[in-house]
């Protein structure tokens, strides 16, 4: 019996999509639902989970207020630092660098991002640790400066870890920029600075938005950098989660925090997309 062409077509589509769909259901949707169920449960006396329906875990969230505060201050701050350091680099790569060197220079920015964050963060433990920079400062007469386990150390680690992710989207938006606009602006008598503020910067805004949103969102779930460079003194939501699940074994409370973290990520993402849309909108109006 021959199947009709349309039925056959959708059967093939379903067959192609099935493995991915099962994977998404089994290891994304189901786990998230399980986490939701756990978050309204209670901690069993010996640790783990006991079925219940209560919101006491969510009401208890202020007990981890420091972790939320640290994350919500240091993640955006870290993203801003990445932007301040990264923008000039992206600008140089896209506008100033010689075209024949460009590919190599861009590769050199991207490559560290794909090497182990753990190892790269470890490098800074090494540098900021007592035998590193503080030791050198001690030799030139500045004793007892502690660098590791401070918010500053965490911020350095953040910039180090996430700078490539900020530079790339800005570079891409600047590279697409029509050079004739810059020439036109100069021909019309604009100074370099006003060309930058009036032309380059607005046109690179989509890249700036993408980079800032990406870095902020990834930082919201960060664990390694505050763990290694903050040493338990500057901890993020991720650190609180590890502690709750693997040390105090309070799974329901941990689940409630994880659910809240996802909500925070979604809210940040929604705000970023709304702002990005607005930029896209104004640009369209400008061009027409």
């Amino acid at each position: 019996m021959a199947l009709q062409a349309g039925t056959r077509r959708s059967l093939v589509t379903a067959g192609l999509a099935a493995p991915a769909a099962l994977w998404l259901l089994g290891f994304l949707v189901l786990p998230f639902l399980a986490m939701l169920v756990f978050s309204v449960g209670q901690r069993a006396p010996e640790g783990g989970y006991m079925p219940a329906f209560t919101f006491e875990q969510f009401l208890n969230l202020p007990a981890r207020a420091t972790a939320f505060a640290n994350t919500l201050v240091l993640a955006p701050l870290g993203a801003m630092l990445c932007l301040v350091v990264g923008y000039p680099v992206a600008y140089y790569l896209a506008i100033r660098a010689e075209p024949r060197h460009r590919l190599l220079l861009v590769s050199l920015i991207v490559v560290p991002f794909w090497t182990s964050l753990l190892v790269r963060t470890y490098a800074w433990m090494y540098i900021l640790g007592s035998r590193g920079l503080p030791n050198l400062l001690d030799m030139i007469g500045l004793p007892d400066i502690r660098m590791l386990n401070t918010p500053g150390a965490v911020l350095v680690g953040i910039v180090y870890g996430y700078l490539p992710l900020m530079i790339m989207p800005i570079y891409v938006s600047l590279e697409k920029l029509d050079r004739r606009l810059l020439d036109a602006s100069a021909d019309l008598g604009a100074r370099p600075l006003s060309t930058f503020i009036g032309v380059t910067l607005p046109l690179s805004m989509p890249g700036v938005m993408t980079g800032t949103a990406l870095v902020t969102i990834l930082l919201l779930g960060e664990y390694l950098i505050p763990q290694l460079l903050g040493g338990g003194k500057v901890f993020f939501i991720g650190n609180a989660l590890v502690d709750l699940f693997l040390q105090s074994r309070n799974w329901p409370f941990g689940s409630a925090i994880a659910v809240t973290l996802v909500v925070v990520v979604v809210v940040v993402l929604a705000i970023a997309m709304r702002i990005a849309w607005r930029f896209a909108g104004t640009r369209r109006v400008d061009l027409v």
Binding site: V12, T13, A14, L16, A17, P19, A20, A21, W23, L24, F27, L28, L30, P31, F32, L33, A34, M35, Y49, Y92, L93, R96, L103, S107, V110, V111, P112, W114, T115, S116, L117, L118, V119, R120, Y122, A123, W124, M125, Y126, G129, N135, Y160, L163, P164, G221, E222, Y223, L224, I237, G238, L241, V242, F245, L246, G254, A258, L261, V262, V265, L269
Partner: protein
């Protein structure tokens, strides 16, 4: 401007270089270079725990990346054929797999598997004829599945971007010349999307090989290389860790350059076709 950019490159590479340099240090000191030696590499790689962790990581990364490459490619092909509603749902789930923080993926997988095992294990035991019923527990499979989730989504995105740039005319020509759909796929589509599948595989491998936080939750009693490195760091900074760290760096550098090379090949070929 130049000086500033140079400073940023220095900032990016000096710390890595420092770790590599001190992995060759003869002495124990972390701040004073006392002579060249490979002793720490010898010490690190004669450690059976480290070797076991390395083998685990290689195995997990290979399997999860291979699965992700195949499943992600199939998904990318399927999305092309879907109606708008299904496509939106699929897109949203794939985006979620990428955006949800690793720490949450790890926790959610742990929680869900614990719940599933607590139901399945007694059930299997009650109907098992022998004395020792099989126990489902966290292990290789759970790490592979959790890593593969993110990787599959990434592969799907990369391959989709490639499919979007693919000329439809050549596919139609192949169909007009009476090639079977499978024949067209094998001879026309697959060769063109192969570089992006390979690049996706390598990125997936790198991700899995470097991931710490997801494995930390779902590894059960197994240890991956990043977990081993993390545990060693917590015990104290030693030149031995530098040797391991330097090796990890070199391994991922090789992989990432291979991935970028493949993507460049693809771009070069695109440019050639446009001329």
């Amino acid at each position: 401007m130049r000086a500033l950019v140079f400073a940023v490159y220095l900032f990016l590479y000096a710390p890595i270089a420092l770790v590599v340099l001190f992995s060759f240090n003869a002495g124990r000191s972390a701040s004073e270079f006392t002579g060249f030696s490979l002793a720490w590499y010898g010490k690190a790689f004669s450690n059976t725990f480290l070797i076991q962790a390395l083998v685990n990581s290689l195995f997990i990364a290979t399997v999860s990346a291979a699965l992700a490459a195949v499943v992600g490619t199939l998904a990318a092909l399927a999305i092309e054929r879907m109606g708008p509603r299904m496509r939106t749902i699929f897109d949203a789930l794939l985006a979620a797999a990428i955006v949800v923080p690793g720490v949450v993926i790890g926790i959610a997988t742990l929680v869900a598997l614990a719940a599933v095992f607590s139901v399945i294990n007694p059930a299997v035991a009650s109907i098992w004829p022998g004395d020792r019923p099989p126990q489902f527990r966290l292990g290789y499979a759970s790490i592979i599945a959790a890593h593969g989730l993110f990787s599959m989504a990434v592969v799907t995105m990369i391959v989709r971007a490639r499919i979007a740039g693919l000329g439809r005319d050549i596919v139609e020509a192949s169909n007009d010349l009476y090639a079977t759909p499978l024949g067209t796929f094998r001879q026309i589509v697959l060769p063109q999307i192969m570089p992006s599948i390979l690049a996706g595989f390598l990125l997936a491998f790198t991700f899995s090989f470097d991931d710490f936080i997801v494995a930390f939750f779902v590894a059960g009693s197994n240890t991956t290389l990043p977990m081993y490195v993390f545990a060693s760091i917590r015990r104290g900074v030693t030149p031995e860790i530098n040797a391991v760290a330097a090796s990890v760096l070199v391994a991922s550098l090789i992989l990432i350059f291979a991935a970028r090379f493949l993507m460049r090949e693809k771009k070069a070929r695109d440019a050639g076709g446009a001329e």
